[in-house]
């Protein structure tokens, strides 16, 4: 309960902070549209040459792109800013302030930042997703919708756990600025369904960097491709990654030497 109240306060502070800079909203919106534009051009180029890509039709790939944008927006607004702050604080030792607070350290470092304007990506992505679903002309049942939501949530949890583990390496490696670029590069692979990649890459994108579960699996839920087994697997992996992230975090904090040490 205390934690929810705390998260809510940080969220409010984050939003209030961003509302000061209203022009940024338009700049963010423009950037969302640019990202959408380049994505659509990519899709359009593919479909000037062919009618399907690895068994996925045009509206289906549009749905994948919508989910990719929604998830990307969530990452950029809620996950990545926290991780970047954590990275900086480990480097200069100011993480002391977070660790000495009377709340669980991992939870605290995960809720402190929120970039409100980045949610434009989520909104634009949702619009794309709705258009794609309408084009699909398939009835989406309650179960499918539910499976989609669950898959999306599990994917989010996996991405968060993965990002936290990456960031935790800063306890040992200290300087890891390039990780942000590396993560974004890898996440960009989610723009397409992972089933089109060669096997080694598909395995990597499923189990090492959970892009497959974050984008492709929810898309499979919407396009009648999802088997209960995959969803169960996603559930298992999400829990596993969460525990693993917790373990790595604890290990990392133990080797943290602080600012004054």
């Amino acid at each position: 309960m205390k934690i929810i109240k705390l998260a809510w306060s940080y969220l409010r502070i984050g939003i209030a902070n961003e509302l000061q800079y209203r022009v940024n909203f338009f700049i963010q919106l423009l950037q969302s549209f640019i990202a959408l534009g380049t994505g659509l051009i990519g899709l359009w180029l593919v479909f000037t040459q062919t009618t399907q890509l690895g068994g996925w039709s045009q509206p289906e790939l549009l749905a994948v792109m919508g989910i990719y944008m929604v998830m990307g927006g969530v990452i950029q607004s809620a996950i990545q800013p926290n991780m970047q702050r954590l990275m900086d604080e480990i480097q200069d030792g100011s993480l002391d302030f977070a660790l000495t607070k009377p709340v669980d350290g991992q939870i605290l470092v995960s809720i402190r930042e929120f970039r409100f304007w980045q949610l434009t990506d989520v909104v634009v992505g949702l619009v794309v997703l709705v258009i794609a679903v309408v084009q699909l002309q398939e009835k989406i049942g309650v179960w499918q919708a539910l499976a989609f939501m669950v898959a999306l949530l599990l994917g989010g949890i996996m991405i968060y756990s993965f990002w936290l583990m990456l960031t935790t390496t800063a306890f040992w490696l200290i300087r890891i600025w390039e990780l942000v670029n590396l993560f974004q590069g890898l996440y960009a692979a989610g723009r397409w369904p992972v089933t089109i990649y060669p096997q080694w890459l598909r395995l990597g994108l499923t189990f090492i960097v959970p892009v497959a579960f974050a984008v492709t699996v929810p898309a499979e839920a919407l396009t009648n491709r999802l088997t209960p087994l995959t969803l169960l697997g996603a559930f298992g992996l999400a829990i596993l990654l969460m525990l693993l992230a917790r373990f790595v975090w604890r290990l990392g904090v133990r080797s943290y030497s602080g600012a004054s040490a």
Binding site: G37, T50, A189, I196
Partner: protein, 267 residues
């Protein structure tokens, strides 16, 4: 002339020594760079295979060659970003550059030339891995190889000029990220970074021909992996020279009028 050569050599040496220090960091960066073309490569070779072997004149092996050479040309294309110019101008760091008895653009060109030396060395193992995985087909003539080596440096200069011109806009207005992002997106599509230009519709290719972007990306790559005629190769080099000169003219013009507006912060 001699002082310029001295300056360039020293500045390159500093960049090389600096970058060699951060090996892990640079490898993270390079792996990030390699992921992007790998995605394009997979998508387009899937299509090529679906269509019985080739798309837009490229076989799967040809596409592999295109995107592997892409990773090298991408390193050559790294220049001082417009965001760097923005930072320099807004935070007043430009004052330091102005103290030097030469144009600040020399600092950037020489530093990033040195940076590239290190990146090319680090790039070789990654290129070897990509070659083993994707089996590119590459059999250039000697002329193609020579033109390629000139063209990657030409591309570097063309792109330096484009982004210096964009960055110098910061002398007039402070809200520039929208302009930068828009031009990055334009470049993405019209340079051949996304796909080889021959996969684009004819009208897009036509527009791209008269813009600087494709001469920094598609032209050098195609010079090595495609089957350009000698005539096309020399036209390409000519186009690069043309854009370098235009860019130089613009940078000097903007500099001439803009620098009066620069008011340093702090010291």
């Amino acid at each position: 002339m001699k002082r310029y050569i001295d300056f360039y050599l020293t500045s390159m040496k500093i960049a090389i020594l600096e970058q060699i220090q951060y090996r892990a960091q640079n490898y993270f960066y390079l792996v990030g760079v390699v992921v992007e073309p790998t995605i394009y490569l997979v998508v387009w070779s899937t299509i090529a295979n679906q269509q019985g072997g080739s798309v837009g004149g490229y076989t799967a092996g040809g596409l592999a060659a295109y995107y592997i050479v892409w990773t090298l040309v991408r390193q050559m294309n790294v220049v001082f970003t417009p965001y760097g110019w923005e930072n320099r101008i807004q935070h007043g760091r430009l004052s330091m550059e102005l103290m030097r008895p030469m144009h600040p653009i020399h600092t950037d060109v020489s530093y990033f030339a040195g940076w590239k030396m290190v990146m090319i060395v680090f790039w070789f193992p990654l290129a070897a891995i990509l070659t083993l995985i994707f089996k590119p087909t590459l059999n250039p003539t000697w002329l193609q190889i020579i033109v390629f080596f000139i063209a990657i440096w030409g591309a570097y200069l063309v792109r330096t000029m484009i982004f210096a011109v964009l960055g110098l806009i910061t002398l007039w207005t402070t809200r520039v990220s929208a302009i930068f992002e828009l031009s990055f997106a334009l470049e993405m599509v019209l340079s051949g970074r996304f796909v080889p230009m021959t996969l684009m519709p004819a009208w897009v290719q036509h527009i791209a021909y008269y813009l600087p972007f494709q001469w920094t990306f598609y032209f050098p790559i195609n010079a090595l992996v495609g089957q350009p005629t000698p005539n096309q190769l020399f036209t390409g080099l000519g186009m690069q020279l043309f854009w370098i000169l235009i860019g130089l003219g613009l940078v000097n013009l903007i500099w001439h009028f803009g620098i009066r507006r620069f008011s340093s912060v702090g010291n």
